[in-house]
């Protein structure tokens, strides 16, 4: 530890705060990440199956989702965050703090992720879908056993990309009092001028991303044949 205190002298008095902020970041990443993953996956699948020529072709559902995703995606996150405050209050009871950030983070992640999922699933050869239909499988089995199973490497890849962008917006969420590493870096690194604290935050974030991508790469390697 003393080595760290030497290169980052402000760490000693601030380590409690840093730990708390790191925890908040993890909390935001884990909760909004998990929910976004599931929601994005569902929406991506819905897009691909309701599309023209899809398994459950439905123009109304497709057009609605397609437009909604485009609209939400085009709103800059910081504005989207403020826009979603009333919705956050309605759902989780608050529009600020870590809890108040979830809705905004999910809103900022899901449309992007769903779009990417759609692209990945579109890469699944239509011949496979046709062959599965010929074998007597219904839409549910085809979605899980063909679309999703065959796309694990692609889904993992875009999950990694989306995770990095999610870390980016958790830092912005500090602006509505969600705390986290971004907030820590602004408060201490920028406003109080502790440059070393910026470097420490950067190092922690890099570490998180590296670990996550390492896991992702292992999954991709194991599932690509």
């Amino acid at each position: 530890m003393s080595f760290l205190y030497n290169i980052a002298p402000n760490l000693e008095p601030l380590q409690g705060e840093l730990l708390k902020c790191t925890k908040q970041t993890f909390q935001m990443l884990f909760i909004s990440g998990t929910i976004s993953f599931v929601l994005g996956l569902i929406l991506g699948v819905l897009l691909i199956v309701t599309k023209k020529g899809g398994l459950l072709q439905n123009a109304v559902v497709y057009k609605f989702l397609d437009k909604a995703i485009d609209i939400i995606r085009s709103i800059p996150f910081i504005i989207l965050m403020v826009l979603l405050i009333p919705i956050s209050r309605a759902i989780v009871g608050t529009g600020s703090g870590v809890t108040g950030s979830y809705v905004a983070l999910i809103g900022g992640t899901v449309p992007f992720f769903a779009r990417q999922i759609e692209a990945v699933l579109a890469d699944v050869d239509y011949g496979l879908i046709e062959a599965s239909e010929a074998m007597g499988f219904g839409p549910r089995e085809i979605i899980f056993s063909v679309y999703l199973k065959e796309s694990i490497p692609g889904i993992t890849r875009i999950t990694m990309i989306t995770f990095v962008s999610l870390i980016g917006i958790t830092a912005i969420a500090g602006a509505i009092g969600a705390g986290g590493l971004g907030d820590f870096a602004i408060r201490y690194g920028h406003q109080m001028g502790y440059r070393d604290m910026i470097w420490v935050t950067v190092a922690i974030i890099l570490l998180i991303i590296t670990v996550f991508q390492g896991i992702g790469n292992i999954i991709i390697k194991k599932t690509t044949h």
């Binding site: 050869d125 011949g127 496979l128 046709e130 062959a131 239909e133 010929a134 074998m135 007597g136 499988f137 219904g138 089995e141 056993s145 063909v146 199973k149 065959e150 694990i152 599932t223 044949h225």
Partner: protein, 343 residues
Amino acid sequence: MIQLEKVSKTFRVGAEQIHAVKEVSLDIDAGEIFGIIGFSGAGKSTLVRCINLLERPTAGKVLIDGVDLMGLPESRLREERRKIGMIFQHFNLLRSRTVYQNVAFPLRKSKLSNAQKHEKILSLLELVGLSDKKDAYPSQLSGGQKQRVAIARALANDPKVLLCDEATSALDPQTTKSILNLLKKVNNELGITIVLITHEMAVVKDICDRVAIMELGCVVEEGETADVFSHPKEKLTRDFMDTASNIHKIYELLEEEHELTKIKDGEKLVLLTYSGGNAGESVISHLAEEYHVQANIIFGNVDILKNKPLGKLVVVLSGEGENMEKALQYIRDRKVELEVIRG
């Protein structure tokens, strides 16, 4: 086994209507290998998809083993589909699954116990000759091996019918042969009715008991393979015959004014077509002995259509005027088709 009654399929592309299949009626018997041949865009792929309703016909009836597929609700249709295996030009194997898992895939809905399924998969892999590849992934297999896996997979649910959509079109001639032999074996040993779509004459010639020729969504000719191709009624049928023999080359040579096609006065350039028992060669030797008409064979071709020979010879005949007439009459009497190309 399979009855198609006035099946039509129309696609709407924008304001335009495309009639991919027009009022096709076919009656395919149990245990036969039925070929549907046509050039690209003839509607044969759409037609074969109408058999298991991957494409729902816009009109007509599809009966499999007496069951009217179009009248079934979705869940019953899925059950019926399990009795109809299908293989494709591009194999359509699941890349993320091994050979074993690919064959196991259609068995998910089967009522067999796990041990029975295991047994079944191993015996199917044995049948297609891939027992040693069971843990390989599709990307590690050659085209022919992939198609073998696809065949094993298509047979997993003990289907009564196997639909083959251009199953050999992506394979080289050697591999095509081995896959066709495997299909014959499947047909013989398991008694499965096979419907085969192709644009390759060689495929039809090799294994089809009966054949239908398709053009622009319609079946233009249909019958026993040997009959259809030895006495083609439609131009399209002849075109297909030509793709499998070198006889049509004579017309190119004629156009080029090739040395071989030049004939002297009193000579005739003729095309002889004989099938079944009429051996063309014996006719030719007889011409020389009896009528003193010399026959010079420029080239020839003998096809074996489902075990019946079909021969074509391009011959230059030379002889005296009267003898020549008699010789020609003799040829016709021997039920050898004669076409005078020149002279």
